[in-house]
């Protein structure tokens, strides 16, 4: 595609794509660091998914008080406006072009037309998308009444519309459990939460919701089929064995008019893949260094498009880090190439970010374990680091501080072992 010649091209230091917590924190930080910033978001309002996450539990680290999602979002948005950060809502980024290290073009549409802008660096903070019914092997009739947990949250908590009356929820991750509570409070009947794994997927405080509202949780079960005329009428559930294979003759049907899918999030990285950014199959997000720069120089990533986070606090922290990286990139004409220390996953580590460390700054390693374990040690044998944990779970991301002076050698292997 040729540049659109009739449109004058504005020029920015940084274009931030995505106006959720990662993007807003990045834009605020970049502005504070003296950069000329443009923030783009596709919704009509800033905040990403936060305005619909109306429950408390946000901000304990970042603001040192407990806020609801909309309150967290509005604090960041207020700061953004105070600082005079330029932002556009209702936009859709069509393409990022990497012309040279310090010359990137972001092409986007808005209700007022198509635009393209120059940027020296891009911070990509587009969040995640939800897995849908068709991606988890549910077959059956083409009926209405199937929503992802996030879609049902948008309907109920942004627009005040009840998606249904008799609900089956697939997956016991946090969003599914939180929506179970919302449905139950609004007098819908949550008939079951169906979880494939032998343990619940969400944080303990959210699993408690099931007890509060007497909602049955079926562990080691899956929904395989749905039936109905025009609308969901019933769903077929089967039990699975320890290898997640369906157990013959274990099936049963649950009558319901609505099926909610809460089967995990995937980093949204489409526009990055188009320009050849290397993706880590374990996180689904880009491979990054300790400035959260991707394999394409000057393209940074933060928040759920980097890896799926549990806490918005870490998302905002990643946004700030990416902004610091962008500042350094622009000032020095690139993140200095050096001998990067590669971080590798050892046993019982499912995913880990960042992938490369410079050793010239302290870093946080974000990681998830492969399975729930008790009395373990996290070890990095190359530098003799050991940390004890009484309990680790895949549903709770670990965040490990490494000091700059600890980071040395060719590679660091992070292992989680039973002691």
């Amino acid at each position: 595609m040729e540049p659109l010649p009739q449109i004058p091209m504005m020029s920015y230091d940084v274009v931030v794509i995505g106006g959720g917590p990662a993007g807003m924190a990045a834009a605020v930080k970049a502005k504070e660091l003296g950069l000329n910033v443009l923030l783009l978001d596709e919704n009509d309002y800033l905040g990403g998914i936060l305005p619909q996450c109306i429950h408390p539990g946000f901000g304990l680290h970042y603001y040192r008080e407990e806020l609801t999602g909309p309150e967290f979002a509005s604090r960041l948005a207020k700061r953004l406006v105070e600082l005079g950060v330029e932002y556009k809502t209702g936009t859709r980024v069509l393409e990022i072009r990497n012309c040279s290290d310090l010359e990137k073009v972001v092409i986007f549409t808005s209700p007022r037309g198509a635009y393209q802008v120059w940027a020296k660096a891009v911070i990509y903070a587009t969040g995640a998308r939800e897995r849908h019914a068709f991606e988890i092997g549910i077959v059956g009739d083409r009926v209405s009444g199937i929503y992802t947990a996030g879609e049902s949250q948008t309907l109920m908590d942004i627009y005040g519309i009840m998606p249904g009356k008799e609900i089956v929820i697939v997956g016991s991750g946090d969003v599914g459990l939180i929506m179970a509570r919302r449905f139950a409070l609004e007098e819908a009947k949550v008939k079951a939460v169906i979880e494939l794994m032998p343990y619940p997927g969400g944080l303990a405080r959210n699993v408690m919701i099931l007890r509060d509202f007497d909602i049955p949780l079926y562990l080691s079960h899956k929904v395989v089929e749905l039936r109905g005329k025009g609308r969901v009428e019933r769903v077929k559930v089967v039990r699975v064995d320890e290898n997640l294979n369906e157990i013959p003759r274990s099936e049963f049907w649950i009558e319901a008019d609505t099926l909610i899918i809460s089967a995990g999030l995937l980093p949204s990285v489409k526009k990055l893949e188009q320009i050849g950014v290397e993706i880590d199959p374990a996180t689904g997000g880009p491979v990054v260094n300790d400035r959260l720069e991707t394999s394409v120089p000057g393209i940074f990533v933060a928040g759920n498009s980097l890896l799926i986070n549990d806490l918005v606090d870490y998302v905002a922290e990643q946004g700030e880090l990416a902004a610091e990286g962008a500042k350094e990139f622009i000032e020095k004409g690139g993140i200095e190439s050096r001998k990067w220390v590669k971080v590798e996953k050892g046993e019982n580590v499912r995913l880990l970010v960042p992938h490369y460390l410079s050793g010239d700054r302290d870093v946080y390693l974000y990681l998830r374990v492969a399975r729930p374990m008790e009395d373990i040690e996290l070890r990095i044998p190359e530098i003799g680091k050991r940390m004890k944990f009484l309990v680790v779970k895949p549903s709770e991301m670990l965040r490990i501080r490494l000091k700059a002076e600890e980071i040395e050698g060719e590679k660091l292997t992070v292992r989680v072992v039973k002691v």
Binding site: I54, T68, P70, E71, G160, L185, A204, V207, D212, V391
Partner: protein, 118 residues
């Protein structure tokens, strides 16, 4: 009678058991800290929750506004609180932090802005 709870005070997630005899607590076990014991006893005797919901707003850009209770509410009172809230209708504009209603001494606080339609 033994009641079992997974503690949510910290990420350890202790499984705390409370043994009751003749309506009295006989033993609390499984907790690794005193806060867990306190939490589990409150969970058994008078569990409380912050209640969140959305309320309809007239003349607002978005049809509902999100709200929370100013303090945790006894779970036995939640159904009557929800019934009271289901009869409310608010009017834009509403700012974050506005007290939009009150139920038995518990303030209902807006957590999202409701801008007035132009």
């Amino acid at each position: 009678m033994i009641y079992s709870f997974t503690c949510i005070i910290c990420p350890l997630g202790c499984v705390i058991e409370i043994e009751m005899e003749n309506g009295k607590i006989k033993e609390v076990r499984g907790n690794k800290c005193p806060r867990g014991k306190e939490w589990a006893i409150e969970e058994l005797l008078s569990p409380k929750r912050i209640v969140i919901t959305v309320l309809p707003v007239e003349k607002s850009e978005l049809p509902v506004v999100s709200v929370k209770t100013s303090q945790p509410v006894d779970v036995r009172k939640i159904p009557s609180l929800m019934k009271y809230l289901s009869e409310l209708k608010l009017m834009a504009p509403i700012k974050i932090g506005d007290v939009v209603a009150e139920f038995e001494g518990v303030k209902i606080i807006a957590t999202r802005e409701a801008k007035k339609v132009k």
